[in-house]
């Protein structure tokens, strides 16, 4: 219901640019290479080479081994560098390994860390263990921002999503993130709504603002705008900012660029006019 709001012309153009600025452009494949990461870095800096007025994305999100390459490629761009750590995506590694993973990524130049929570512990009710681990990783991050991936597709219920959101915020997470993109169910609008309510209520209770990042499955401009409407109407306009809301996505970006072009030219564009990186 909340997402059915009509957005036209100037507001739509503003929303599309905002959505572009919120994209965490992501490549998390076993087949990633320095070449692939450099290409995506260039895309992050200048998503539409044909149009200098197009903003850069928020961040590039890569595996720790690719952080040095990305760090070099993004230098001076203002694009953040996020890295998944803590034995992404399963999180099934000893805590020492997870912390070392995190520290290495930060040392190599990542200024944002996307960690995964221990879903096994969470689902067994060992909340303290989950909490302690987030605290430890936050500590290992040093100055880097910490995004906590709840993997909502594995948490099964909205109650669990809400509980995990609070746990992550209480433990010091700067962002809560829905998914790794590696399980069948990724971000959904209802789950994101639950998380937005959580960050709204958490700020009311603690005074601290925490960001939200739905990731995976958001592929079209239409979807992205629906999310922005929900952000606006649930958490409020304070969250309509790349510092507080992100999209974890890869294919979404080109659809945003295509719609941006449609608004400017008045006719439908096509995939040939946007880069595949």
């Amino acid at each position: 219901m909340l997402s059915t709001r009509s957005i036209k012309t100037t507001a739509k153009a503003w929303a599309i640019d905002l959505a572009i600025r919120m994209v965490d452009l992501t490549t998390l494949e076993g087949a990633d290479t320095p070449g692939k990461v450099r290409a995506l870095s260039a895309k992050a800096r200048r998503p539409d080479p044909a149009d200098p007025s197009c903003p850069a994305v928020a961040a590039l999100c890569v595996y720790p081994s690719m952080v040095p390459v990305a760090s070099e490629a993004l230098r001076g761009s203002g694009v953040h560098l996020a890295s998944v750590a803590t034995a992404f995506p399963s999180g099934q590694a000893p805590i020492e390994v997870k912390l070392a993973d995190t520290k290495a990524a930060v040392a190599a130049g990542a200024d944002e860390i996307d960690m995964v929570i221990n879903r096994g512990a969470f689902l067994s009710g060992r909340y303290q263990e989950v909490y302690d681990e987030i605290v430890a990783v936050k500590d290992a991050c040093g100055g880097a921002h910490l995004k906590v991936i709840l993997e909502t597709g594995e948490l099964a219920t909205y109650d669990n999503v809400r509980r995990a959101s609070w746990l992550a915020m209480l433990a010091g997470g700067d962002f809560i993130k829905t998914s790794t993109g590696k399980v069948p169910v990724a971000a959904t609008l209802p789950v994101t709504l639950v998380m937005l309510e959580a960050v709204r209520d958490f700020r009311g209770a603690s005074g601290r603002q925490v960001g939200v990042k739905p990731a995976g499955g958001i592929r079209t401009t239409k979807d992205a705008i629906k999310y922005l409407v929900v952000v606006n109407e649930t958490a409020g306009a304070d969250w309509l900012d790349p510092d507080w809301f992100r999209f974890g996505a890869s294919t979404l970006l080109n659809d945003l660029l295509m719609q941006r072009t449609k608004l400017k030219t008045g006719h439908y564009s096509g995939p040939d006019y946007f880069t595949v990186d």
Binding site: G266, H267, Y268, S269, G270, P271, D272, Y273
Partner: protein, 273 residues
């Protein structure tokens, strides 16, 4: 008490499905409410057509021929239905035979339109036709079935996918043809059919940057044809202009409607030990 007939809803055909217009509109024509397509339906149809290009153009010519022949079998089965819609019997028969004629071209056009080129050097050099991609087609208004078949079949037999704007005043045969195609083995999205006002939808098709070619066979307004051709120039669509004189759709069509939507690819390879 006599039985009350179940009426048919005439809808659009996009990506193998039969949606109503995204706009929720219809228009009264041939005593039926027919979907009135919008620019967003054009957009959706282009997406469906583009998505179908890879599979359809990548299918073997033999496979495409089999599928199109199967569609002719289905068409024959609906013969009486087209006659009941007011299509002359001779035209229905000719339309079925025309479909069969084009089905047979699938694995022959490359043999007629391709070439081994005797270049002056130690090189293998072969030119083969390939489909151009997504083709927008405005169907002829005066021949709702035979004319339609005569513009759709040549575009798809070579591996293109199409978005067809049906004859505005006689769309029922077109929707029925879509039903034939939906029950044949033709993959969804190869043929997409929109009913409604050509003057409203055609400009969006002509200006769409993800459409590769336009067949203006059914445009009868010279000013509209020119503006469509101008819009098509933006991404250099291949354009088949409207006919200069009335067309006899029952005559041998030649291979021009196929070659208009083919690219020629030439492959060089050195010869040597």
């Amino acid at each position: 008490m006599s039985r009350l007939a179940v009426r048919k809803t005439y809808k659009l055909f996009i990506g193998g499905k039969f949606p109503r217009s995204e706009s929720g509109r219809s228009y009264l024509v041939q005593d039926a409410n027919v979907a009135l397509a919008s620019r967003k339906d054009v957009r959706d149809a282009v997406v469906a057509a583009r998505a179908a290009v890879k599979g359809w153009s990548g299918a073997t010519a033999y496979n495409r021929g089999q599928i199109l022949y199967r569609a002719a079998e289905m068409l024959e089965g609906r013969r009486d239905q087209f006659v009941a819609l007011g299509e002359p019997e001779a035209e229905v028969d000719a339309a079925i035979d025309r479909w069969v004629w084009y089905a047979g071209w699938s694995d022959k056009i490359a043999q007629v339109y391709g070439n081994a080129n005797p270049v002056a050097g130690p090189y293998f050099n072969l030119s083969s036709p390939e489909p151009t991609g997504v083709v927008g087609v405005v169907a002829p208004p005066e021949s709702a079935l035979l004319g339609l078949v005569s513009v759709v079949a040549p575009a798809i037999v070579t591996g293109n996918t199409v978005i067809v704007l049906a004859a505005e005043e006689r769309p029922l045969a077109a929707v029925t043809l879509a039903e034939v195609l939906a029950t044949s083995d033709l993959p969804g999205g190869v043929v997409n059919l929109l009913t409604g006002k050509v003057a409203e939808t055609a400009p969006w098709l002509a200006a769409h940057m993800d459409v590769n070619a336009l067949d203006l066979a059914g445009v009868r307004d010279a000013a509209l044809a020119t503006s469509l051709e101008e819009a098509a120039a933006e991404n250099l669509k291949r354009v088949l202009r409207p006919p200069a004189a009335p067309v006899d759709w029952s005559a041998d069509p030649g291979i021009g409607r196929m070659t208009a939507f083919l690219e020629t690819k030439t492959v060089w390879h050195p010869k040597g030990t």
